[in-house]
């Protein structure tokens, strides 16, 4: 990463880019998502996050589909650090005891040089809602993907 002082600060998007990095015109390739939390594998959050990320980027025409081989693509690598689908009963009783949550550490790197150019942490949590939150374990993955895509697109001038 570039100098800490030179890291761009995006208050809302929480994506930090190395000094001088410009994402305009870049396309993004999504690497297979990794995890250190076995629950993320069991609940298929790993595959779903990659799929949702690709879908979100494709909608914004920012996905590197490989057919055009755009120069200077950016690779997005995600690691699910924490995942829990929680449980409905716990969410019904009270907040965090049944919370569904996901924490994703996201790194952006240059396709060719592998140089790290950006980082962010996406966190999504559903801690209430009772029966209405029955799909929370899946919803948080979609929401996390949306947050990542939004953070990246916020750094691209439209």
């Amino acid at each position: 990463m570039a100098a800490a002082a030179g890291l761009a600060f995006a208050d809302e998007a929480s994506l930090w880019l190395s000094e001088g990095v410009d994402l305009n015109g870049r396309r993004f390739a999504v690497d297979p998502v990794t995890t250190i939390d076995p629950r993320a594998e069991e609940e298929h959050a790993v595959d779903k996050l990659r799929t949702e990320l690709a879908k979100g980027l494709a909608q914004l025409e920012m996905l590197d589909t490989g057919d055009k081989a755009p120069p200077r693509s950016v690779r997005i690598s995600c690691e699910i650090k924490r995942y829990s689908a929680g449980n409905v009963a716990g969410r019904w009783i009270g907040g965090k005891f049944g919370a569904a949550y996901i924490v994703v550490l996201v790194k952006l790197a240059e396709q060719e040089s592998h140089q790290l150019i950006g980082e962010m942490v996406a966190v999504r949590e559903i801690a209430g809602g009772g029966l209405f939150s029955i799909e929370a374990g899946s919803t948080i993955v979609t929401d996390a993907a949306d947050e990542i895509v939004k953070a990246i697109s916020n750094r691209v001038a439209h």
Partner: protein
């Protein structure tokens, strides 16, 4: 009517804000597991004030937040305990300066998860050349700390979660620098 309400509103506001005073103490943030390292760098190190730490979650202010000043002091104490460098000194007398930016800290009150992403950078004080840099991630989940008290808005509980996250981050920093420090060389050394 408006002026009659002003005083009670102000009193109530100050009472609420007083109750929201951050409870985190620097001592809570310093990892207990750090021990003095036998091999160390001959460099004199200055620790610059940590930047960042403003949470993107506005509600975080309700409970203890970890900001630059607390982080800087915890960092100084941790490095002092580890003894990785010959001396911790001021920037004027240092060979290298450690700069820190808290890139991200995420959570909300009653949240299950707290995350911390910190960028560390060691620069030659004379040349400003980057000698070493890394971004270190740490997190904690509230349920790891749940000890039976039915108090989901217990502020001390959240302070423990935050403190653990900072301690983990600083422990990782020391572990990384333990490998790196003996090989670091500034222009003057």
């Amino acid at each position: 009517m408006q002026s009659r309400l002003t005083v009670p509103v102000l009193v109530l506001s100050f009472t609420l804000l007083g109750g929201c005073t951050p409870l985190v103490q620097v001592n809570d943030l310093v990892p207990r597991s750090v021990v003095r390292i036998p091999s160390k760098s001959s460099m004199r190190l200055a620790v610059a004030a940590a930047e960042g730490g403003e949470s993107s979650e506005s509600m975080t202010v309700v409970v203890a937040n970890v900001n630059g000043p607390e982080y800087t002091e915890a960092l100084r104490q941790t490095l002092g305990t580890a003894g990785l460098f010959s001396e911790l000194t001021t920037e004027d007398h240092a060979d290298a300066v450690l700069r820190t930016r808290i890139l991200s800290q995420r959570n909300a009150p009653r949240s299950a998860v707290y995350t911390l992403l910190v960028h560390y950078e060691l620069r030659d004080r004379e040349t400003s050349a980057i000698l070493w840099q890394d971004t270190i991630y740490s997190d904690a989940v509230g349920s790891d700390f749940y000890s039976g008290e039915v108090d989901i808005i217990n502020r001390k509980f959240f302070v423990r979660v935050r403190a653990k996250t900072v301690q983990d981050n600083l422990s990782q920093l020391v572990a990384t620098l333990t490998e790196q420090a003996p090989h670091l060389k500034t222009r003057s050394r």
